[in-house]
Amino acid sequence: MKKDTSCLEREQIFYFAQGMLEGREAERARGHLAVCPACIQTAEGYQRLNHALDSWKVSGPSAWFESRLQATLASTADERRGFFGLPWGRWLAPASLAAMVVFGIVMVHAWRQSGRYSQPAVLTSARLARSGQAQPQIQSAPASVAEGAEAKPADEEMTLYKNLPMLENYDMLANFDVLSELAADSKAAD
């Protein structure tokens, strides 16, 4: 078998110099470098470069490196300790906050709803009275109003409901001239 005497590629010499070749490739490179001055020179060039790179030194960590790190780690540990000292508390805290917000929204909504249905009871009755469907509602309303209070006579109640459309005539109520005329009439009578 003919022995391979051709020069090594630069890349192969570099890999050999850096210990990156193994097995048969390493054997071949070692054998060739033993007899080839040109390839030896290339390998020595890489060794010189390697040696030159050694002269780049850098400073080590500062004296306060560890104390700074310990302080940061301590604050991290506090964060991890979480809500009421529970390990999963950091998830619980935002969840409970969200639950409180939702509860608050529901409560406000419920309060508004209850206000809307209880407050304008008279106006609703009045509208029904105008549309002619008021009779059954009117009869049930005084019963509920009368609970715990002094019962009003039925005819007085009926008068009140009959007058409701007039009381709802805001244009007329806003016209205070009528009232001033009344005052003038009473003075003239005196």
Partner: protein
């Protein structure tokens, strides 16, 4: 006294042993600060980044799986942080150049040698030439050279750190050293290196 492996220590950290974390911290504090100092040059930023690595290791301790070497994991976090910092700083203009007074010369750290002022200047000049040559390398080549030459990380492990094949790392290192050789050869021939 037996020296605990990084893996054993990390498993103990995972189960809540703070002392084991302290051992890892002492073991890798200087190498990490050195790695970042060469990658980003700014010593203050290097310390901040090294702190960030330890912080991330500590925070991720519950998720640590011993399926790779601890240093592979450590340098992967460190390399990602360093490359991000380099990219962030590219937009801020040229790197802040340290004066020779800021850089502690190599010989000054050896207490039994008293270098002359001339020797001091020569050392500083040598360091500057090498630093500039390494900084001119593309990011991946720079990371590979610093890991290989200064952190003494094996090329197989560098492949895992950079998430590339072993062949790619060998090729990356060859191209990087060729670039350095071309740049530094005139100074080596001139006796400056």
């Amino acid at each position: 006294m037996t020296v605990d492996s990084d893996l054993e220590l990390m498993l103990r950290v995972r189960s809540g042993d703070a002392d084991s974390f302290e051992v890892l911290l002492n073991r890798y504090r200087a190498p990490l600060v050195g790695y970042f100092s060469r990658m980003v040059r700014d010593p203050a930023l290097a310390e901040d980044l090294a702190q960030e690595v330890f912080l991330r290791v500590y925070r991720a301790r519950d998720r640590y799986r011993p399926n790779a070497r601890f240093t592979t994991w450590l340098y992967r976090i460190a390399t990602n942080l360093a490359l991000n910092a380099i990219r962030d700083r590219k937009g801020d203009g040229p790197l802040e150049v340290e004066s020779d007074l800021d850089m502690e010369p190599a010989a000054a750290r050896i207490p039994d040698k008293k270098p002359s002022a001339e020797q001091h200047l020569m050392d500083s000049d040598r360091e500057r030439l090498i630093r500039e040559a390494v900084e001119e390398l593309p990011e991946n080549q720079r990371a590979a050279v610093i890991l290989h030459k200064y952190q003494e990380v094996d090329y197989r492990q560098i492949a895992k750190v950079l998430n590339v094949s072993e062949g790619a790392v060998k090729s990356l290192l060859f191209r990087a050293y060729e670039n350095l050789r071309r740049r530094l050869e005139p100074f080596m021939k001139g006796g400056q290196l």
